[in-house]
């Protein structure tokens, strides 16, 4: 039985050619949109990703305000103010975690099963998921900016735009990191261990929670390796665009952005590879 014969018996498929970039992009959009609609219809996720960091911020800020005196920081900086950008990163992290946990079940017994047998590439699927989760995270991170005046962050229009841009990069990288884990797992059982051992430490050691200047030397080395350290630096520098002296001890903007872009690119690439291997 030759290919020519089978072509004659089964004429060419009249459905759209899926190799066309437009169709793949249409699939990205549809997956992206689905993430957002699902989120809006599940109020509990909003509470988890937004309210929890808010509570952390208020409690830890209130508790540590008077005992927090790190070296190399302005004396006027309270812990509540120091922790504020860190909490924004935590909002991004939590949204990425919750969104990617959902992927595990979605793949085993949900909508994703059907997506996996559709004529779309794995890169398309991962991009749709990542953009959807990133959007959710950034919207919540942007809403958090309304608290900036309470901690004397000198927000300008440029600062807001820069901050949102940095939030997009951080959220995309963290979401892809979550997807790498989610695509490897068959159940959500182990996700909590991974969250505590990998995702939260990445955040804890990024300068979000305490500055590298006051950390033990070996910890400072680990913090310098943590890609999110540069995400935090870019975030703080964007927020304090109107007052660079407040963030003078941090890594400079341009290298931080480059590390952040590389982080987003590499995690995306690994997530696509993982998705290909998980269900080829």
């Amino acid at each position: 039985m030759s290919d020519v014969q089978s072509e004659a018996v089964w004429p060419a498929i009249d459905a759209a050619e899926t190799t066309r970039a437009g169709v793949q992009w249409g699939a990205v959009q549809t997956l992206w949109q689905r993430e957002i609609v699902r989120f809006v219809r599940q109020r509990s996720r909003l509470v988890g990703a937004f309210a929890q960091p808010l509570v952390f911020w208020l409690l830890l800020g209130g508790g540590l305000n008077n005992s927090f005196r790190p070296p190399g920081m302005p004396v006027t900086l309270t812990y509540t103010a120091y922790f504020y950008p860190g909490v924004i990163a935590l909002v991004l992290l939590f949204t990425a975690i919750f969104a990617t946990i959902a992927v595990v079940e979605d793949r085993q017994a949900g909508f994703l099963q059907g997506v996996l047998v559709a004529p779309v590439s794995r890169a398309t699927i991962v991009l749709g998921q990542a953009l959807g989760c990133t959007t959710l995270a950034v919207v919540q991170g942007a809403i958090f900016l309304i608290f900036a005046p309470t901690v004397s962050v000198p927000l300008t229009v440029a600062a807001v735009l820069a901050t949102i841009g940095v939030e997009v990069l951080i959220a995309f990288g963290l979401t892809c990191l979550g997807l790498i884990i989610a695509w490897r797992m068959d159940s959500t059982q182990g996700f909590h261990a991974i969250m505590n051992l990998i995702l939260l430490p990445i955040w804890l050691l990024s300068g979000a929670f305490f500055p590298a200047s006051g950390a033990t030397s070996w910890l400072a080395v680990v913090m310098a390796i943590d890609p999110l350290t540069y995400g935090m630096a870019a975030l703080r520098r964007s927020l304090y665009l109107g007052d660079p002296s407040a963030v003078a001890s941090l890594p400079p903007m341009l290298p931080s952005l480059l590390v952040l872009i590389a982080f987003a690119g590499v995690t995306f690439w690994v997530a696509v590879r993982t998705a290909k291997r998980a269900a080829a």
């Binding site: 018996v9 699939a27 689905r34 699902r38 085993q108 949900g110 047998v117």
Partner: protein, 314 residues
């Protein structure tokens, strides 16, 4: 041969050390309804995963409407409609949203897609529920949304994994009827896995699976004709002892399957009458019937199709 909708050629797969599928070959003609019957763990779900392109086989290949599973997976995907055992509809989305998302994944859009959603929902009698969230629908209706989704892009081969699971007998019959209509109207080829006898009985041909192998393929009638005669089943307090005594007295070797004596006899009613007269004190019950596909399975494997409890559900 090239008109066959599905040509499976030596498909093999293993999970780690466990061989789930040990080289399976069969063909399904265009417009046929083909059932894969077997107990859990027989390899039929693995076969479904390979054919639906979810998992790459470790050996062998298949051609779906002339396209090779390994070399042209995207061409295969475009021709396949897949209905999973577990729901693949998003409960948080409405019926229409589910169908629209599905269409976009297949490159459908605009008026064409809207028209298909309308036509397919009318066809499967879910048109009045298009605006409802799927999670508010009954199990039977959700199943029909699954089917509408699987058919929206006009596949040539519809693959269904245990479509009867979770449906009550009435909904199950209704679902089978819908499949027959689809075949009649669109000429779509249907391959389904099942462990329900009645569902397998309604297929044009049935492949029986056991321990990762396809052990028989034929029409349900031809398979049952292989058993030959009537099926007699005898429950006794001491089946082993009775088995020996029946062999001694009548020269008939019965098989001991799942605690009961079982055999196929050309004139089963006469044989049973003789057994009852000779050993009435030792019998708990005797049954007699025309062979079913389960009898075929038992004859081929020496095992029952289900273990204990689940048999009652069929």
């Amino acid at each position: 041969m090239s008109t066959d909708a599905l040509v499976v050629d030596g498909l093999r797969h293993q999970y780690g050390q466990r061989l789930a599928l040990a080289g399976v070959s069969f063909t399904v003609a265009r417009g046929e309804i083909f059932g894969l019957l077997g107990p859990n763990g027989s390899g039929k779900t693995t076969l479904f995963k390979l054919l639906s392109t979810l998992v790459r086989p470790d050996g062998g290949t298949a051609r779906v409407c002339g396209r090779d599973l390994l070399r042209e997976p995207d061409a295969v995907r475009r021709q396949l409609g897949v209905v999973f055992q577990r729901p693949s509809v998003d409960g948080k989305l409405t019926v229409r949203e589910n169908l629209m998302h599905h269409g976009h994944l297949y490159g459908l859009r605009g008026a064409d897609l809207a028209g298909r959603v309308k036509a397919m929902s009318e066809r499967l009698s879910i048109a009045d529920r298009l605006r409802d969230r799927v999670e508010t629908l009954s199990g039977g209706l959700q199943r029909r949304v699954e089917l509408a989704k699987g058919l929206l892009h006009q596949p040539r081969l519809l693959l269904l994994d245990e479509p009867a699971t979770g449906l009550d007998p009435a909904a199950r019959r209704e679902f089978t009827r819908t499949l027959s209509e689809l075949r009649a109207r669109d000429g779509v080829t249907i391959v389904l896995t099942t462990h329900y006898l009645e569902e397998a009985e309604r297929c044009d041909r049935v492949g029986i699976m056991h321990a990762g192998q396809l052990i028989a393929v034929d029409t349900p009638d031809a398979l049952k004709a292989r058993v030959g005669g009537d099926v007699v089943v005898i429950h006794a307090a001491e089946p082993e002892a009775l088995r020996a005594r029946i062999a001694e007295r009548f020269g008939v070797e019965l098989a001991l399957v799942d605690g009961a004596l079982r055999g196929e006899r050309p004139r089963g009613h006469e044989f049973l009458r003789d057994v009852v007269e000779a050993f009435s004190g030792e019998l708990r019950s005797v049954t007699f019937g025309k062979p079913t596909l389960e009898d075929v399975f038992i004859q081929l494997t020496g095992e029952r199709l289900w273990d204990g409890g689940e048999a009652a559900a069929a």
